[in-house]
């Protein structure tokens, strides 16, 4: 059995990540977090919004993922994300200002639809902040 598993993350804009890793965990839309080790049963599922982590050479790294689709095989994990960023792609200032904007929108929201949009924006900015401000090796 292989000791590593190939993780590929692609978005419509660019291929984000591709390398051999020891372990992956990603959020799904309906079944919580999936932790994947080499030799996992093949699974296909929808990806939710949140943080994906992978362990490479004993180090934990984070990626943000927003929606999409994942295909898990015994030797590889392919994540087709709607959006995804590595930690150095995240603009902290922009995420913070978008959090402030989302909070303001949430307060001013009249309809349920507005509220849902504002909440989604807030969640997205929080995920980015969490990823960027995350001390490595710390669980969430």
């Amino acid at each position: 059995m292989a000791q590593t598993i190939k993780l590929e993350v692609v978005t419509p804009e660019r291929p984000v990540f591709s390398a051999e890793v020891a372990e992956v965990q990603f959020p799904t839309a309906s079944c919580g977090y999936y932790g994947i080790l080499p030799g996992h049963t093949p699974v296909m599922t929808e990806v939710g919004d949140g943080l994906l982590y992978y362990i490479q050479e004993g180090q934990k790294h984070w990626l943000t993922v927003f929606g999409g689709f994942a295909e898990v095989g015994p030797e590889r994990v392919m994540v087709l994300a709607r959006e995804s960023e590595t930690m150095d792609m995240i603009d902290l200032e922009r995420a913070e200002s978008s959090r402030q904007r989302a909070l303001k929108l949430l307060k001013e929201a009249q309809t349920e639809h507005d509220m849902a949009i504002a909440q989604a924006k807030l969640d997205a900015s929080l995920i980015r902040l969490q990823a960027a401000g995350h001390p490595a090796g710390h669980g969430f």
Partner: protein, 293 residues
């Protein structure tokens, strides 16, 4: 014969035009590069998406226990095509050679020979709206002046509503007419059926030996979410192809126009010099004959 003054004026105007076409060519080259970059970046995603869809379909086909839901039908057993939705993609601006004319011709032929009824028509670009008007079709929705980053929003909108319409039985198929990007100087007007999708028959059975995938939370839910995603990716690819084609076509057209202008200036300059020369010769003859007399 035109006077010297007239020819000078014409040369000046042609020179101005040449400047404009040269500038437009350069702008198109930059825009083409941007569109092409996005298209190239999308390709790995699109091909992987198609791979995943194929795998799910093969998996569901091979398992008699799974009852295919309405979304699965879009991939597995297409309904008879009675009502279809059409997306017509052209450009907002002209001055791009045969780009709009060719794709409009393809669309007209498609509409004329299409046995099913077009119940929903989306048009992208001002020229597409004009085409619809000429054909006496009423577009359900018009998308005008969409910048490159705005394409994502357009495709999300179209694919979400198209999937819902398929689900509710309002449409049986989704077609797109657009310009396929062969190279910066060659485009092919293309009619594409996005769904029900045609599966490559050679693919079936190829993966039978492999362990089949678990589909979480259940096969139909997976297909339900996969269908709009797949349609989205396909549409985005088509729109980007069209955008890259448009800029490529404009670049080629403007290059030709600049060259033509250059030729015209050379010709006019020649005529101008001839006339000037003739004038001088005439004057000399007059002076000489005056002195002789």
């Amino acid at each position: 014969m035109a006077s010297l003054q007239d020819i000078r004026r014409r040369i000046r105007s042609v020179k101005n035009t040449q400047q404009v076409t040269k500038a437009m060519k350069m702008i198109s080259a930059v825009k083409l590069r941007k569109s092409q970059e996005r298209l190239v970046a999308l390709r790995p995603y699109a091909s992987k998406m198609a791979e995943v869809v194929r795998r799910v379909v093969v998996r569901i086909k091979g398992d008699a226990e799974i009852q295919p839901g309405p979304a699965a039908q879009a991939f597995l057993s297409p309904r008879e095509e009675k009502r279809i939705r059409l997306v017509f993609v052209a450009s907002d601006k002209g001055l791009c050679g045969g780009f709009n004319a060719n794709v409009a011709k393809a669309a007209t032929a498609f509409v004329a020979h299409c046995p099913s009824e077009i119940v929903h028509l989306d048009v992208v670009g001002k020229r597409a709206v004009e085409w619809a008007k000429k054909q006496k079709l009423t577009p359900t929705k018009e998308y005008l002046n969409i910048p490159l980053p705005g394409l994502q929003r357009v495709v999300t909108e179209i694919s979400a509503s198209a999937s819902a319409q398929y689900h509710d039985g309002e449409i049986d198929a989704l077609y797109v007419v657009y310009n396929y990007f062969n190279s910066p100087v060659a485009q092919t007007p293309t009619v594409l059926r996005v769904f029900p999708m045609e599966l490559d028959p050679s693919f079936e059975g190829k993966e039978a030996g492999q362990v089949s995938h678990l589909l979480e939370p259940d096969p139909n839910a997976v297909l339900e979410t996969l269908l709009p995603r797949f349609v989205e990716t396909e549409l985005l690819r088509n729109l980007l192809e069209s955008s890259a084609s448009e800029h490529g076509a404009r670049m080629a057209a403007m290059d030709k126009a600049s060259n033509n202008a250059g030729e015209m200036i050379a010709k006019l300059t020649l005529t101008m010099n001839k006339i000037r020369q003739a004038g001088i010769t005439n004057q000399i003859i007059e002076i000489v004959s005056g002195a002789n007399a």
